[in-house]
């Protein structure tokens, strides 16, 4: 059986601002299996966002293959939902209209759209904010709407590019729990970009540790702690220490 995503020997070369070339990724190979929650972690310049952009279909690799269900990725599509760091909601649409946006593109009837947006608003506990515009929502609420909007198409894979980097620590914790809840319920796969070790250990079933200049995979750490995880348990601490060490050596 083929993996959901296969990245085979992928490299990406970029022009820097002073017109020299830099390797964002060099010879990277990794698979994402059905139902996995993968966190890619690494310092800036390690190519983790480039990897996400290649899988999302926003950019093409300079060399190597990026496959989705065995076929080359041809561009962005509704089979891969994306949640960006921030400001990706449509500010002229309410929460409900943002969530209904993909269905409106497909010409889904108003009643069906409404039923779906009701369901997803309830899932993210934002029924009370259905008719508010993004400008009237807190950072955490906005990201919950963004997650719901990305999930309405029922994607096989959810790509998240440092989605909680701009929210405060308390909100961040509850957003992490919420994403895990949705993941367990809806059974999609996740590629989650972060630079926060604790976040990676709390969320993922597998951690990809990357290193910069050139962007490469340094180590892949499987995480077999059962969910829900206890951040204060010794096992959690041991894994944190392990990832931290790999990250810094």
């Amino acid at each position: 059986m083929t993996a959901l995503i296969e990245i085979k020997n992928v490299s990406k070369i970029y022009a820097t601002s002073d017109d020299s070339a830099t390797w964002a990724l060099q010879g990277v190979s990794v698979n994402i299996e059905q139902g996995e929650f993968i966190c890619a972690i690494g310092p800036s310049g390690c190519g983790k966002t480039t990897l996400l952009n290649i899988i999302g279909g926003f950019i093409t690799p300079t060399e190597g293959d990026a496959l989705l269900n065995g076929n080359a990725i041809q561009g962005p599509g509704p089979d891969r939902g994306v949640v960006f760091q921030e400001y990706a909601l449509f500010s002229w649409l309410t929460s409900r209209e943002n969530i209904e946006f993909p269905m409106r593109l497909k010409g889904v009837s108003k009643a069906d759209r409404r039923a779906m947006s009701d369901k997803y608003l309830e899932m993210i506990n934002l029924t009370h904010a259905a008719d508010r515009y993004p400008g009237e929502l807190s950072g955490g609420m906005r990201q919950r709407v963004a997650v719901a909007r990305a999930l309405v198409n029922e994607p096989q894979l959810l790509l998240m590019d440092e989605p909680f980097a701009a929210v405060d620590a308390m909100t961040r914790t509850s957003l992490q729990e919420e994403v895990l809840r949705l993941w367990e319920k809806l059974k999609f796969s996740v590629l989650f970009i972060t630079h926060n070790i604790e976040e990676a250990v709390f969320l993922s079933s597998k951690i990809i540790i990357m290193s910069p200049h050139p962007g490469r995979i340094k180590e892949i750490v499987p995480v077999d702690l059962p969910y829900p995880r206890d951040r204060t348990s010794p096992d959690f601490g041991a894994l944190y220490a392990k990832v931290n060490e790999a990250f810094h050596t």
Binding site: P76, P78, A88, F90, W92, R104, L105, G135
Partner: protein
């Protein structure tokens, strides 16, 4: 043990002794004062506005009387102008001219808005179209619309077409340029979101790029309507037989400065009203724009 904890809490909490109705009273009196304050500010502001207008009229009235060398025919005081205004309103002449001028402005502006927004969308989104049209459009933008009045008369005659064409020409450029800037600067993350949600290029253009650049488009439309009013006058001063600009031009030949004053004031008033109407409609039609 638990009783002890409760009593400690009570002694630590200074609010416990105070009746909750106290806080309500405080709150209500605070809100009362706030409202009072607001109302007073509004009233004093309006009074000052009104006073300013009265002072201006008084100064105007006094000027030709106080300054001996001033010719009252060249500088008619408001008391004279008001009489003429009543005459012009009663004969219907003023309103008729306003109607004709506004018709020209709105038609010319509508044409400019459609062409300007479409041109902005294409030049802002498609690099080929942008670079192809860049030198020509920017070159044409630098031509003052007033310089085209004689050409427009030759091409379109002295009828409505020449006025509407000139107004469209003048209003097109700010609408195009602002739309272009807005479209070009739409955050890439919005376009990526749309694509990953399944939007076709056409859907991305109309459901994302257009609304995302709306704040810029509105600025362009507002500048465009301002220019439309300026070009209107230029077009009506030469080769027109109706309109507010024509009224000003003929009053010059008739040596009627009072009519001229009314025409000029009307143009100022129209510009002001159109601008206010614009801001009003904007907040009504695009509520999210103000909530940002």
């Amino acid at each position: 043990m638990s009783a002890q904890t409760t009593s400690t809490q009570d002694s630590n909490n200074p609010d416990a002794a105070i009746d909750p109705s106290h806080w309500q009273e405080q709150e209500q009196s605070f809100l009362r004062k706030l409202n009072e304050e607001k109302r007073r500010k509004t009233i004093s502001q309006l009074t000052l506005n009104l006073l300013g207008v009265v002072l201006f009229l008084l100064l105007w009235e006094a000027t030709p009387h106080v300054i001996p060398w001033m010719n009252i025919l060249l500088f008619p005081p408001p008391s004279d102008v008001v009489g003429t205004l009543v005459e012009l309103v009663e004969s219907g002449e003023l309103l008729e001219n306003i109607a004709i001028s506004m018709q020209r402005v709105l038609l010319g502006f509508a044409i400019a808005a459609v062409l300007g927004i479409v041109a902005g969308l294409f030049t802002g989104r498609i690099a080929l179209v942008q670079h192809l049209s860049d030198p020509v459009l920017h070159g044409m933008r630098s031509i003052p619309a007033i310089a085209l009045v004689p050409l427009s008369l030759l091409w379109f005659g002295i009828g409505e077409a020449s006025k509407v064409a000139l107004i469209s020409w003048g209003a097109f450029f700010p609408i195009w340029l602002n739309t272009f800037t807005g479209v070009r600067d739409v955050p890439p993350v919005l376009v990526r979101s749309a694509k990953s949600l399944g939007a076709t290029p056409y859907q991305t253009m109309f459901n994302v790029i257009l609304p995302a650049s709306l704040p810029f488009i509105l600025v362009g439309l507002r500048q465009g309507i301002g220019i439309a009013l300026i070009v209107l006058v230029a077009a009506e001063l030469a080769g027109a037989s109706s309109g507010v600009g024509y009224m000003v031009a003929t009053s010059h030949q008739l040596f009627r400065v009072d009519i001229m004053f009314i025409g000029i004031a009307t143009l100022g008033f129209l510009g002001y009203m159109v601008d206010r109407l614009f801001t009003f409609l904007q907040s009504r039609i695009f509520p999210w724009y103000s909530s940002k």
